[in-house]
């Protein structure tokens, strides 16, 4: 089983991994492809990953969240070609109380962005193509 999927993500499938009658508070983060980035109109994009390391990091991040809060967390990230509006990432945290669910969900999405080896190539409406680079002032490298 991998946290990386090359087909459309289904929030309910992810949620079913963690929701239970004991865990009444469920917080979901869903990241979808926006139609603009770095001042350009986005046509579509491609996510690629260093698969085995990405899975190891996902697993580690979720274990960290579950040890820090009384919560269960599930997550999936899309790879391959995505269109505007497609869901790129889903994180679901379920806990008996909402504070733990919010905190665990936020911890996991922040850690995914910081630690999981995934890259995004954007294809713009003007025909240009760029690598998304959160460390660059322009937000993208060509």
């Amino acid at each position: 089983m991998s946290y990386l999927k090359d087909e459309p993500l289904d929030v309910r499938t992810v949620a079913h991994q963690v929701v239970s009658a004991e865990r009444g508070g469920v917080v979901t983060f869903l990241g979808a492809v926006r139609n603009h980035h770095a001042g350009r109109a986005v046509l579509r994009l491609e996510y690629s990953a260093y698969g085995p390391m990405a899975d190891a990091e996902f697993s580690q991040i979720i274990a960290e969240a579950e040890s820090r809060w009384p919560a269960k967390v599930a997550a999936e990230h899309r790879v391959g070609t995505l269109e505007v509006g497609d869901v790129a990432v889903v994180v679901v945290a379920a806990a008996p109380h909402r504070d733990a669910a919010f905190d665990a969900c936020r911890y996991v999405i922040e850690a995914i962005k910081r630690r999981v080896p995934i890259w995004k190539r954007e294809y713009y409406v003007d025909g240009t193509v760029g690598w998304v680079d959160p460390t660059a002032s322009a937000g993208v490298s060509f």
């Binding site: 260093y50 190891a56 999405i109 995914i112 962005k113 630690r115 999981v116 995934i118 890259w119 190539r121």
Partner: protein, 80 residues
């Protein structure tokens, strides 16, 4: 010793390959591998301190290597 190097995304584009095997003298660190890459075609454009991983775990430039290790050079992450 032999090191398997993985390149991704923009760095794979810069160097025109996604994977290569290199020989370095022991003792070696991640920095040794990067210096070797910089001498190859396209390698001069790698940044001074890229994010790196050793055997699929985040590492530092001075992380020591062993024969048979896998070193990945990771462009700025953009998942999520």
């Amino acid at each position: 010793m032999r090191i398997r190097v993985l390149l991704f995304a923009r760095y794979a584009e810069l160097m025109g390959q996604t994977e290569l095997g290199i020989e370095v003298d022991a003792p070696a660190t991640v920095r040794t591998v990067l210096d070797t890459l910089r001498a190859r075609a396209g390698g001069a454009q790698l940044p001074p301190s890229p994010m790196v991983a050793r055997n699929q775990v985040h590492a530092q430039l001075d992380t020591a290597l062993e024969d048979g290790d896998e070193v990945a050079v990771l462009p700025p992450l953009a998942g999520g």
